[in-house]
Amino acid sequence: MATQETSQSATFRHAFGNVLSFAVLLLIGVMAFSIRLFSVIKYESVIHEFDPYFNYRVTQVRLVFVYGIFANSFLRDQFVYPLGRVIGGTVYPGLTLTAGTLWRILNSMNIPLSVETVCVFTAPVFSAFASLATYLLTKEIKGAGAGLTAAALLAMVPSYISRSVAGSYDNEAVAIFALIFTFYLYIKTLNTGSLFYATLNAIAYFYMVCSWGGYTFIINLIPMHVLLCIVTGRYSPRLYIAYAPLSLNVVSIRMLNITFRREKAASSQASSLISEVKLGIVRVVMVVLGTLLAALVPVVGFNAVMTSEHFASFLGHAANLQMSFSNSVVFIIIHVVALVYYIKGILSPQMFKVAVTLVVSVGMVVCFAVLAVLIALVASSPTKGWSGRSLSLLDPTYASKYIPIIASVSEHQPPTWPSYFMDINVLAFLVPAGIIACFFPLSDASSFAVLYIVTSVYFSGVMVRLMLVLAPAACIMSGIALSEAFDAENFLIKAGDTTKVTQNDVKHEKSEDTIKERSSRKSKKKDKENIERPSLVSQVEKRLLVLPLETSVIAVFLLVLLGAFYVVHCVWAAAEAYSAPSIVLTSRSHDGLHVFDDFREAYAWLSHNTEVDDKVASWWDYGYQTTAMANRTVIVDNNTWNNTHIATVGTAMSSPEKAAWDIFNSLDVKYVLVVFGGLVGYPSDDINKFLWMVRIGGGVFPHIKEPDYLRDGQYRIDSQATPTMLNCLMYKLSYFRFVETDGRGFDRVRNTEIGKKHFKLTHFEEVFTTHHWMVRIYKLKSPRNRIRGKTKKSKSKSGTSTSSKRSGTRKKNPWQ
């Protein structure tokens, strides 16, 4: 009777708890969505920054077509003239597919939203989903309480907000959700051993692959975890089920991809026998799930997904080979281990020993052979299977040393310490506590969480952008830490007022509950843990009981305070720091708020005043915006798959006028766009980026030398600047007529007077300068209709001056 009652009350409490946590989750979702709306409220519903414009454009264009065309759509003139760009092969389709589907669903429900609106709000919606996924993941690791806390923390973590405010329509918007959800399904499979979840996991992983280059993180982390489990003797069939399908998936995608490419190569020239043999070996691995996947995926094309060198993907297209290497090794190991366990079960101990010696000796030979082949595979690729971006992951200084084009992106720099505080705030202090909590007790799931946080901390130290991967891990850890702490403190407070007996009862019941749940979910193998757990819990209880009531209350108060600080910081970050669309700028001064809408002004000018076919040259940062907002063809854009092409534009910008004119003319450029912040003090203008242009240009065209632009190693544009600097196109286009603004040409970004104030342009003419001079557009002058002779034009009419007009020594310039 009593047991029935308790179980009844337990179910009631359960139900109540479920409803409560559902309500809390709903609120968290609403908060995650609404905290990201600051940008819309403060500015307007626009798409932000650079890359999102491209994604938006792709979404727009693709909606016109059918889904299947995506992989093949070759956006013709618009992108990267004249080399063209295969959109399907250079873009992760996940984001645009998602937003496109969303738009279609809404439209079919007669909710007529524009594509832009859907794109703007995709990120906030998916951050709500990400919170949900965090809840699920953390719940699998440490229970519902920790899950809710982690979800709440993730909903407002500034690092994630920075990439997912309304309007930030970038791959990360959906990818973080996909990342967390994939991890959740992995852990879920690990905990349940269900093939259903394993399949879901494979699909979620596939979605992640579609969305973001960060998928390489998943596919390296999971094998690492599997390896860790095997090494620590935690091998179980569940682990096998959780890993094998996923891995097969990965391997098969990869194999398909490789064969696809090879076949392409083979169709043009016969591939060598050796590569066939190599492929044959790896190909064997591609089995049932591979074909299943191939059937699952529409003709999106593995090539499209896998060969992308999209620059936005910072983890990038890490070398295929090295990936399959680590995967195959782990894959083989897990099979060997599985086999060993299986054989151990069916053989008698003696037989097993004999078998072991036999297998080990044979296995060693086979392993060495396989290893040798794999190493040969890796070594046969020109970069030893390492792409530049992956190398910069391991050696943070690699990119800045060897690849200026990677180093020039600020997101690829290592972060500073304040950025940790800015981006994850108090979580940084809670994470260690969370890690400790994960060890009491250490389960498969919690070990995964620990591994996740450790690796992501390392990666975030390499590239500031990878902070985004760290944020969910930090939230999970902090969620665990906070909830454990609250649990303990609450328990202590309760213990303070109630009698010890009832408290013990409740606690015991609770712990039993969880144990029951867990043991039912997991297989019987957890017997050992079952025995350990209560004793451990009671130990912890005993230890904690030492704290007096007041301390607990104060501790709770302090924790709440900490959380409050976090909330304040997050709201501030969302409202002030991260919601600027960077296409509209504002500044506050003593006489009120100033809005700088120069970018849109310039793009609108371009779209209204230039021919549809005209090509616009600018530094690559503005490529996507020009394409999307001005609807004009650009020479280079933010996708930097062709270094030489960018270097050509960099060279033109660093050359004197005539040489630059020749370069631009050869590229059919009609207009040149420069961004200039000197008048209003906008620091990320082209003059500040100019050294990168020189470096990138000089990397391909050696006649551009960086020291020519530096005076004693210093970059300056004042009267001390080098003649090369003062005569280069970028200087001229930026500072042309600048002296007319204030009479002395004072640059407010560099805080100095410019070096060369009065000069004329001979091959370019200014056609448009925006209100705050932030964007200046120049047109290439057409070559002169006539070529003038040597004789100077005489101003005076007197005949005597004719003899003085002789100017034989003057070097002839046909352009003057």
Partner: protein, 439 residues
């Protein structure tokens, strides 16, 4: 009663208006209305042969004195003339609104110009010439003297009337008929910048000629201009196809030299009539676009076997390209026949360069394979030939890579892999069946 009259007048005006505004057009390149600016109205009669040859070819000549205050080439933003002949070497300043800039703008808007200087050429004329790339000898008193190829005359003279026969080698500029007689020239010489590719020597001086003041003694210094570097008559074709002729002699247009017999010193051939008339007439035909004006139309391309022009090609497509080129004969467009027209398939550099074959009726065509490179290409026809207006056509066309389903579906080299895949699948299926139902 008055109303219909007014309406009629208006109608008249409206019908005249297009005539007035129709200036140089690519479809009818012939200039019809020419303003002739003279120093002195007596030139009208002394150079009447030149003018009447123009008139007989259908030009309206409008004679104005250089200091006429009503002189203007432009009214309400429209050019009233299609060509300008400046036979006013000594004018320092035009009357009316015309000035150096006005003349150059006239040229830059595609109109033709004939300028003649003379021994006492003014700065104005020199400036106009210099703007077109022709540098007259800066010594104002210098004229061309040639002691070995002067025109033999009764009086010994100072050898300033020279007989030149070094013509530009171009049938387009000087006509098919070879100019047999030498051309009489009396005036100043000029030099050209060799780097200037637009200006051509139509008539060069002989190696023994030089530029000096004939009345003064030769100084020890070499003259500023001498030898074949001296150009007597130059022609310019600007980038917009406007054509300019600059001559250092006003007399060479005159009736006197047109009719004069000529015998070059040291030569036994004596011609009854100098080559001036033929030379000037043929050159003026070229200047006023009666020869050597090309147009290219109907630039077409399509895939082999299709007739529609595609919006995009795929790599390795076979395509056909054709263009029609016509030449203005003075009254109609006739097919231009040439064997050296080429087309480029161009993306930053030409990937394909093919010579077009012609059917003799103006149609040029070829076919080639699109290179194995995708991107935004251009069909480019760049036809620049001496004497002809330059043709520069380009048409943008994107070339896309293969779609995923355009690759060969099964390739022989990959058969082991297909075998591996399918045998694996079959094996798995059989194994499952055996395992499940054979217990």
């Amino acid at each position: 009663m008055a109303a219909p009259k007014v309406a009629f007048l208006l109608l008249n005006l409206i019908s005249i208006l297009p005539l007035l505004v129709s200036s140089f057009s690519p479809d009818r390149p012939t200039d019809r209305r020419i303003l002739v600016v003279l120093d002195d109205l007596s030139l009208k009669s002394s150079h009447s042969l030149f003018f009447s040859s123009l008139k007989s070819r259908g030009f309206d000549l409008d004679f104005k004195l250089a200091d006429d205050p009503a002189i203007a080439v432009k009214r309400y933003g429209q050019y009233m003339y299609d060509g300008l002949i400046l036979l006013s070497p000594s004018t320092e300043r035009f009357g009316g609104s015309l000035d150096v800039e006005g003349v150059l703008d006239f040229v830059d808007s595609g109109h033709d110009l004939i300028v003649s200087a003379d021994a006492n050429a003014s700065d104005l004329i020199r400036n106009i010439a210099a703007e077109c790339g022709v540098d007259f000898d800066e010594d104002p008193s210098a004229v061309i003297v040639d002691h070995s190829s002067y025109a033999v005359s009764e009086t010994e003279g100072d050898h300033t009337l020279i007989a030149a026969d070094d013509f530009i080698q171009s049938d387009v500029i000087l006509g098919n008929k070879k100019i047999e007689a030498t051309v009489l020239f009396k005036g100043i010489g000029h030099s050209l910048n060799p780097a200037n590719s637009m200006v051509l020597k139509a008539l060069s001086a002989s190696p023994s000629s030089y530029s000096t003041n004939p009345s003064s003694k030769l100084s020890s210094q070499p003259p500023s201009l001498y030898g074949t570097a001296i150009s007597l008559v130059s022609v310019v074709q600007a980038r917009n196809a406007a054509r300019i002729m600059i001559s250092g002699s006003l007399d060479m247009f005159s009736n006197r030299l047109f009719r004069a017999g000529v015998q070059k010193s040291g030569s036994l051939n004596k011609y009854e009539k100098s080559g001036n008339e033929q030379f000037i007439t043929e050159l003026s035909k070229w200047i006023f676009h009666e020869r050597g004006h090309l147009k290219a139309v109907n630039l077409r391309h399509n895939k082999v076997g299709e007739s529609e022009e595609p919006s995009m090609y795929r790599i390795n497509d076979d395509l056909e390209f054709s263009v029609e080129i016509f030449e203005w004969s003075g009254s109609s467009w006739v097919p231009h026949v040439s064997k050296d027209v080429q087309v480029q398939f161009y993306m930053m550099s030409p990937y394909v360069l093919k010579t077009l074959s012609t059917n003799g009726k103006g149609l040029y065509h070829t076919s080639f394979k699109v290179p194995d490179v995708y991107g935004v290409f251009q069909f480019k026809v760049e036809y620049q030939k001496l004497g002809y207006t330059s043709l520069s056509l380009s048409k943008q066309i994107p070339v896309r890579p293969f779609k995923h389903n355009e690759y060969e579906r099964f390739i022989t080299t990959a058969f082991p892999y297909y075998g591996a895949s399918f045998s694996m699948m079959a094996g798995f299926f059989i194994f499952s069946g055996v395992y499940l139902y054979n217990k």
